[in-house]
């Protein structure tokens, strides 16, 4: 009871503005983007900034329309997302067993973890010349860079997930003589799914970052390459339009995973 009262004390809603303006207040989060957009358009309209350096929002919008309708975005995104999916899958397939091994065998951990850690700490950019010499600038280079980006968060979170299972729960399985299948289904899976998913989500965002990086640097197709092309051809309106596309795609990817994570938290939340 007193707990309820104390909480009520903290969540007393702050009333701001009149009741009829409440919806305006609720939209305050778009104030900043709208303000920036206006500032951008005004500075373009009055020639405060050269259009060569910063095209106007309307120009960018027009360019966005062009790249979205002439197939540039569709074909580039298809290539990039396919690349992302392959590299990501490769990374996860390597990282999950590695994380399991680290969690279950101290010897395996001590044997491999320092090397793994060193490999991870070498910046991806420093890997690129090495990998280029080994694989050329073909698809393999990109897949390795993306897979490597996935591996660190997924390995670490897999290990943490397994180690995080309270020993009491495993004892519970032994106490009631649960079959291995039932132990997995009723104890191990629900106890690890959330931290595991956190790793998968972080891994995906990391690999998305690295995809853009490697495409900017060493690629002849994909959305990152289109961005570099636009920069080199000095088509700044197209460049800004493509930046918007990359941003929106990353945002959508992140939000989609967020929805899955919330659903998982709802189902297995008591566990985390």
């Amino acid at each position: 009871m007193s707990g309820v009262v104390e909480r009520a004390l903290i969540i007393q809603p702050a009333r701001r503005g009149g009741p009829d303006l409440a919806w305006v207040w609720r939209l305050r989060f778009i104030a900043l983007p709208v303000f920036l957009l206006l500032l951008w358009q005004i500075s373009a309209s009055y020639g405060l900034v050269s259009l060569l350096v910063l095209p106007s929002p309307l120009q960018t919008w027009a360019a966005l329309h062009v790249v979205c309708t002439n197939g540039t975005v569709a074909s580039a995104l298809e290539i990039s997302l396919w690349r992302l999916a392959t590299g990501y899958a490769l990374g996860v397939v390597l990282a999950v067993p590695l994380g399991l091994a680290f969690a279950m065998s101290p010897v395996a951990r001590k044997l491999i973890a320092p090397t793994f850690w060193f490999i991870v700490r070498v910046p991806p950019a420093a890997w690129i010349p090495f990998l280029m010499m080994l694989f050329g600038i073909g698809e393999a280079l990109k897949l390795v860079i993306i897979a490597k980006a996935v591996m660190m968060p997924v390995t670490i979170n897999t290990e943490l997930a397994i180690r995080g299972i309270p020993s009491g729960w495993r004892e519970l399985g032994r106490l009631y003589r649960l079959s291995p299948w039932l132990t997995l289904r009723r104890i191990l899976f629900p106890a690890t799914i959330l931290p595991l998913f956190t790793g998968l989500r972080l891994g995906l965002m990391q690999s998305w970052q690295m995809l853009i990086f490697v495409e900017l640097l060493a690629s002849s197709n994909g959305i990152g390459y289109q961005l570099t092309m636009a920069r080199q051809l000095f088509q700044l309106d197209t460049m800004l339009a493509l930046m918007v596309v990359v941003g929106v795609a990353g945002f959508a990817l992140d939000r989609a995973l967020g929805v899955v994570e919330r659903q998982l938290a709802r189902n297995f939340g008591g566990v985390a």
């Binding site: 104030a31 010349p129 090495f130 995809l211 900017l216 460049m239 800004l240 930046m243």
Partner: protein
């Protein structure tokens, strides 16, 4: 359960950690010696060792490493300061959070490298563009961690501010800063690591200048895999020194925490 194993000692752990790379090196060296791989293309650990020895004596290597570190330091310090300021403001003010929070949150999902072409156009592809990029990369983790740390200060600790009439300075120095300390340090730690990644990345993405990126790329053009690997080891070593060094600092600053000391 807690029986001691042979690998529990410091030396055992060290030996195991070295065994794996040593085995890899042996296989590589053996394959090169037996002619299974062509050592003029694939190099060999012995050639890499010689390359390391050459690089250590080469003033060009040290001037490139110095240039990269100096660039990293400028961008990272600037980024940490900006991130700290913005993060504190965002954490302390609910109004600022309402207005800026969602936009910043959305911006997090945009790959940081997307900004590179724009920075290159605006600031040029030289030193300014690179440092601006490093600043951007390092400011974001500090900003988000600081804001979260300050926002989640415990209400029971904040109550002491009112109870004892703490002034602004005392509040900041004694309550807010140390209370958000673990989160801030986590952000700064990330910034220090990301800063080095961004420095090397920037040297590839922007126009070439002095630096380790140029150094390593030069050897790639010469197709000298042994020197490329030597440079990679150097770059990785710097990253690890940053990581371990900052870990030490963090541990010292957070010595009041229960889990930070036995």
């Amino acid at each position: 359960m807690s029986a001691r194993h042979w690998h529990d000692s410091r030396w055992g752990t060290l030996a195991l950690g070295l065994a794996f790379p040593a085995a890899l090196a042996l296989v590589w060296q053996g394959a090169a010696a037996k002619g299974i791989i062509d050592s003029s293309v694939w190099a060999s650990p012995w050639l890499v060792a010689k390359a390391v020895a050459t690089q250590v004596r080469d003033p060009q290597f040290w001037s490139d490493l110095g240039a990269s570190l100096w660039r990293d330091a400028q961008g990272t310090v600037l980024g940490i300061l900006l991130g700290l300021g913005a993060g504190l403001a965002l954490g302390r003010s609910a109004l600022a959070r309402d207005f800026f929070g969602p936009t910043l949150d959305a911006a997090k999902a945009v790959p940081i490298f997307t900004w590179v072409p724009l920075l290159a156009v605006w600031l040029g592809s030289g030193e300014e563009g690179k440092i601006a990029f490093i600043t951007l990369v390092t400011a974001l983790p500090v900003l988000f961690n600081t804001a979260e740390g300050v926002r989640s200060l415990e209400a029971r600790h904040l109550e002491l501010i009112r109870l004892y009439h703490l002034g602004r300075l005392t509040t900041f120095r004694r309550v807010v800063l140390p209370g958000a300390g673990p989160a801030i340090l986590r952000g700064v730690h990330q910034a220090v690591l990301f800063g080095w990644l961004a420095t090397i990345g920037a040297e590839f993405l922007f126009e070439a200048g002095n630096g380790m990126g140029t150094n390593i790329n030069g050897f790639k053009e010469l197709y000298a895999l042994d020197f490329v690997v030597a440079d990679m080891l150097a770059i990785g070593l710097v990253g690890i020194i940053f990581d371990l060094g900052f870990g030490r600092i963090e541990k010292f600053l957070l010595r009041w925490r229960e889990d930070s000391s036995p």
